[in-house]
Symmetry: C2
Subunit: 234 residues, 2 copies
C-alpha cells in the first residue's frame, strides 16, 4: 500500500500539461487559410521555443517575456513557410494565440477539485499576462499565477522551483510540480519538490503520439489531472 503524498502547493506546468498548444494553434492556423499545414506550423513554432529561451538563459538576451520570444519565433516560422500576407496587426493577433490555448478536457475539472484542498498555481515559462488571459478564457481557477516572469528566470532554473516554496514560505518537499515533461520534473526533483507526471500522449498531435510510459523517480504517475485529484483524495 502506497501512502498518499500531502503537498500543500501544486504548481502546474502549462503548455502541453494543462492546455493543448498543438491542437489550438493548428486549428487557428488552419482557419486562417494561409496555405500551410496547421500541424506543421504549430510544431515549427513550438520547436523555436527552447532555443529562444536559451538565448535568455545564456545571457545573450536580457530578460525577455515569452510573448516577445513567441513573436521572434513567429517571424522566423512565417518566413520559413513563405507566408507574407500577414500585416503587423494580424501577426500580433496570431501571436496571442498562446493566450487562447484550449485546456485538455480534464484540466478545469481536475484543477477545480484539487483547489479544494491545495493551493493551485501555474509554474510556467509563459508570462503573467498570457497565463492570466488564458485562465480567464478557459475558466482555470488558479489561486495565483506564478511564472518565470515572477522569478526572472526560465525553467529549469532552480530559482523557479525553489521560488514556489519561498513564495509560500514552505519547504520544497511541500510543493508538487505537475507536468507532462520528464525533464521539467527531474529538475524540480533535484530541488527537493514532489513530482506528478501527467500523460498527454497527443501533445504533439495525433500524427505523432508521445511515449507516456512511467519513468522512475516521480512521486506519482497519472493519466490526467482528474486522476491526480482522485489520487490525492480530492
Amino acid at each position: 500500500m502506497t501512502s498518499t503524498p500531502a503537498p500543500k502547493i501544486l504548481a502546474f506546468d502549462i503548455f502541453g500539461t494543462v492546455v493543448d498548444w498543438h491542437g489550438s494553434i493548428a486549428r487557428e492556423v488552419d482557419a486562417l487559410q494561409l496555405g500551410v499545414s496547421g500541424n506543421d506550423f504549430a510544431l515549427a513554432w513550438r520547436a523555436g521555443y527552447q532555443p529562444a529561451m536559451q538565448r535568455v538563459r545564456s545571457g545573450e538576451l536580457g530578460w525577455t517575456r515569452i510573448d516577445e520570444l513567441h513573436r521572434m519565433v513567429l517571424e522566423q516560422v512565417l518566413e520559413q513557410f513563405g507566408v507574407r500576407r500577414l500585416d503587423d496587426a494580424h501577426k500580433s493577433h496570431l501571436n496571442r494565440v498562446w493566450h487562447r490555448l484550449d485546456p485538455w478536457p480534464d484540466s478545469v475539472a481536475g484543477v477545480t477539485r484539487l483547489k479544494t484542498r491545495h493551493t493551485v498555481c501555474p509554474l510556467s515559462n509563459g508570462n503573467i499576462g498570457l497565463l492570466t488571459n488564458m485562465a480567464k478564457r478557459a475558466g482555470l481557477p488558479w489561486d495565483c499565477i506564478l511564472s518565470a516572469e515572477v522569478f526572472r528566470a526560465y525553467k529549469p532554473d532552480p530559482q523557479t522551483y525553489l521560488g514556489v516554496a519561498s513564495t509560500f514560505d514552505v519547504e520544497p518537499g511541500e510543493v508538487m510540480l505537475v507536468a507532462a515533461h520528464h525533464d521539467d520534473l527531474a529538475a524540480a526533483r533535484a530541488c527537493g519538490l514532489l513530482t506528478a507526471y501527467i500523460e498527454r500522449p497527443l501533445e504533439f498531435g495525433a500524427a505523432a503520439p508521445k511515449d507516456v510510459s512511467p519513468r522512475a523517480g516521480n512521486t506519482l504517475h497519472c493519466a490526467s489531472i482528474v486522476a491526480l485529484a482522485q489520487r490525492l483524495g480530492c
Copy 2:
C-alpha cells in the same frame, strides 16, 4: 451626463480597501487575552508599516517581503505593549493574521461582479503568498495576484503602477487603481492610470472615523466596491 470609463484592468489596493485590517487584527488580539487593547495594538502595528517599507525604499534594507517587515514591527509592538509571554511559534502565527484579514462586507460580491467584464487583481504591497492565502480564505476571485513582490518595488514607486500596464501589455490609461487612500491614487494618476476612490470610513476603527469626502482628480468616487461595479455597468 458623465461617460463611463472603460478600464481593461482593475488593480485593487488591499489593506483597508478590500479587507478590514483594523477590525480583523483587533478581534484576534482581543481573543488572545494578552492584557492589551486590540484596537490600540492594531493601530500600533499598522503605524510601523510605512516606516518599515521606507527602510526598503531608501535602500537601507535590501528587498524584504511584507511578512518579514510585519514581523519586525510586531517585535517592536510587543515590546512597546510589554507583552512577553508569546513564544516564537505563537508570534509566527500572530504575524500571519495579515493572511487572515476579513474582507469588507461588499468586497467579494463587488469583485465577483467586476470580474465578469474586467481583469481584476490586487496591486498591494503585501507579498504574493500573503495575498494568495488571504484570497483563498476570503473567497476573493482574483484573476491573478500582482504585488510589490512581482515588481520588487513598493508603492508608490511608479514601477508598481506602470508594471500593471506592462504585465498586460496595455496603456496606463487602460488600468484603474481602486483604493481607499488618496496618496496611492495620486501616485497612480501621476503614472496615467484611472483611479477610483472607495469610502472606508471605519478603516481605523469605529473610534476614529476617517474623512472620506471626495477630492478632485479621481476618475470615480464610490461608497463601496459594489457601487463601483454598478458604476461600471457590471
